[in-house]
Symmetry: C2
Subunit: 311 residues, 2 copies
Amino acid sequence: MNKETLIQVHNRIKPLIHNTPVLTSQLLNVKAGCNLYFKCENFQKMGAFKMRGAANAILALSDEERLCGVVTHSSGNFAQAVSLAAQKLGVKAYIVMPKNAPQVKKDAVKTYEGHIIECDSTLQAREATAKKVKDEYGATFLHPSNQDEVIFGNSTAAIELLEEQPNLDIILTPVGGGGLIAGTALAAHYFSDNCIVIGGEPMEADDAYRSLISGKIETNEKTDTIADGLRTHLGDRNFPIIQKYVDKIIRVEENEIVEAMKLIWERMKIITEPSCAVPFAAVLKYKDEFKNKNVGIILSGGNVDLKNLPF
Amino acid sequence: MNKETLIQVHNRIKPLIHNTPVLTSQLLNVKAGCNLYFKCENFQKMGAFKMRGAANAILALSDEERLCGVVTHSSGNFAQAVSLAAQKLGVKAYIVMPKNAPQVKKDAVKTYEGHIIECDSTLQAREATAKKVKDEYGATFLHPSNQDEVIFGNSTAAIELLEEQPNLDIILTPVGGGGLIAGTALAAHYFSDNCIVIGGEPMEADDAYRSLISGKIETNEKTDTIADGLRTHLGDRNFPIIQKYVDKIIRVEENEIVEAMKLIWERMKIITEPSCAVPFAAVLKYKDEFKNKNVGIILSGGNVDLKNLPF
């Protein structure tokens, strides 16, 4: 893996993704005491950065593999991303979802012609069902965050951000499964001289923070956070990248996440997921650390249930 | 008034406003059966197109008038727009507001250093108080929609939209006091060859629709619409422009407004006021009329109470 790999990945997925806008807000700059550049992946196709990794993972398949389709187990953004990328590339997508997943999530997958296979709601059942699909159809398993091609695809959001704002001192991302921050850290390493990468994580699901301290992948006993995209833990493909290239992880409280989310909605007039607000909350919490710096924040997605908002 | 006037107005207010982005959505294009171009005045300074008219009206004052300040009676976007434009130009802004106006609206005006003068909540009290301020301080009264300089300022949103998309067949705006649609109609008349202008209005406050039929300014007996920005009626300065240059007004039901608003929020991931959804609802209601056309929609603003959403 080198810079050339990421350039090739970016060129390859360009026809399938938006180069999303970078928005700024004078009011939020004043509030935070630094220059904020928000990379709006909430405006990405299907509404989240996951499209980048999913597109790249499918494009990396051989012709033969494409014929057999892909499978993933997810009820969230990655399910939609795989379905849409597969649809655009004429590949069959099998999406393993718990029976009790919300109808709205099933409908979203169906919109993109993903083929839903229902199972029980345990992780074991989901993994077993995905394996069964893999064995039966020869479909390639795609992991939402712990797979090189997904991580490389995710890196392209930060590559675009750095193309538009080469003078960034810091890029922040939320940390869930680790696929976004690992890709972002690779992008900052290869596409900037001095830009560091910091993760934002809910105190209530601080597995990545603890993993960086202990030097091994930690998991969460409870994940009682509004940032529902960040309840997962790191994997063996992204953790070494995070250890090597991520500066640190900042943890924030639930009320700080809600307050930051409200500011983004009210002041920037854009719809973003609670997870997006976590890195912004980190900046607001430790203003001195970011004072007068040029700070990029990757807003990871905008798929929210409007009937269930925290304010 | 001619094309040159509007060019001068646009150049004059440019330092005070954003040239807001024009967003598109493939999904909404498919849904509507036409090519939609949304001019995002929800991203305008203070969150609404009103900034354009307010800025122009204050810039049009003589030096002597500027010294005496400006006054308006409004508890909505125009109050914020006048406060912000006045603040930027070093002019004192007196904002007459009903005592019982929501604290959040008072706070918004105070953010921009507007000087609030409270009165009873009747229109008579508001007009009398504004007149008193005018007499006492020599402040110039600014009307939110029925004043030439405000209308000319408002026209600049459509001028920018036509600069970016010169091939528009139609531009739609919501119709409240008539200041936005009148300005838009002037812009389409002077800055395009064939682009027509259509208004969207709630069935529950269809004064402009009835005014165009009767040939005189009609008012609303009730204004029971979620589109709270559209409850006002036309005025003697904008009505003749609307009569001359607006193609027609389309009326929509409340449920159609909410449905259109939900589509904008969920699919475009942007926060817009209910009023913004009215012209889009009109397109969805009469798809045949817009089929395959290039349709601009001015999204008038994004200042909503997140605690009080219709979905």
